[in-house]
């Protein structure tokens, strides 16, 4: 008999921000395809979230020859740290972000 599998909850917008920012931080300078792959996003969602992060000043876009890549700003680093802190705090009360 097949096992009953609990469907996974969709990621919150905050979790997606966190995944993108973590990817950009870990990569140093991340190409869109790399973010797409590591943050597990579709192209449409990547464009939407990258645009939001750019408008909030959390990442910045740089172009080098034909390539486009993203780096974390200081504001982005502060935001990432704050979300990481929030993640460990809320986990104690059984909340996931």
């Amino acid at each position: 008999m097949g096992e009953l599998v609990q469907p996974e909850k969709p990621r919150s917008a905050l979790k997606i921000y966190l995944d993108i920012l973590t990817t950009v931080r870990d990569q140093g300078r991340a190409k869109p395809t790399r973010i797409l792959y590591l943050a597990n996003l579709s192209h449409d969602r990547l464009v939407k979230y990258i645009s939001e992060l750019l408008s909030k000043g959390l990442i910045e876009e740089k172009a080098e020859e034909e390539n486009r890549y993203y780096t974390l700003t200081q504001k982005g680093m502060d935001f990432l740290n704050e979300v990481k802190k929030a993640e460990s705090f809320v986990s104690a009360f059984g909340i996931t972000i």
Binding site: F89, S91, A92, F93
Partner: protein
Amino acid sequence: MVSSQVLIFVFNLLSGIVALLVSYYAFRFNRLVESSVLRYVSLGFALLGVGLVAEAGISVFLGVNLVELFVVKRIGVLANAAFLVLQLLAYLVFALGYAVGAFGRPKRFNETLPVGSLLVLATPVIRDALPQFYNFALASELLMVLLLAFVVFEGILIYSRTHSKFSLMVLAGFALILGGHIIRFGSIAALSSALYVDGTIVQFFGFLSLLLFLIRSGRIGPT
């Protein structure tokens, strides 16, 4: 020899400060995470913090703790009632928060509330034999024990699911606070001032566990 008022003042003041710190961080992170459970945690710890600081202030101002108030029959009943109500409300908010988190809505908790009230009302011997405020204090402590037992139970469920050291620290904190209130309930029933101080100290260790949680999870100090 340090008097019981000084001990109550110090332990309650420190516990109150820790409670207010937890409230602040829950409020701050709620702006990011937007969770109803965090809102309850923030409100609950704020009420608890104010209640504990009020108790600390009252014990110094009146020169007696809650148990001694009954023994020496000094005035200040209203002042003491204030911190009991605040703390009771705080635990009610925690229990509601955990109920909302666990069951999606507070209906299940509402069903359990009258049980606690009935239990208190079912002690007519104590109620009739003792002054009104004594009965109120005893009932408040009993309700706090019931509410905290529910919170601890939810904490156990959360820890069994997450196995996170942070949820264990919060669980230990609430369990020790519960232990403190059980002792304080006993102290009021037995009119033992020494036992009341013991209960306050055990409760303080609960807040120490919460402080440890704040420090270890990176909320205080360098991150």
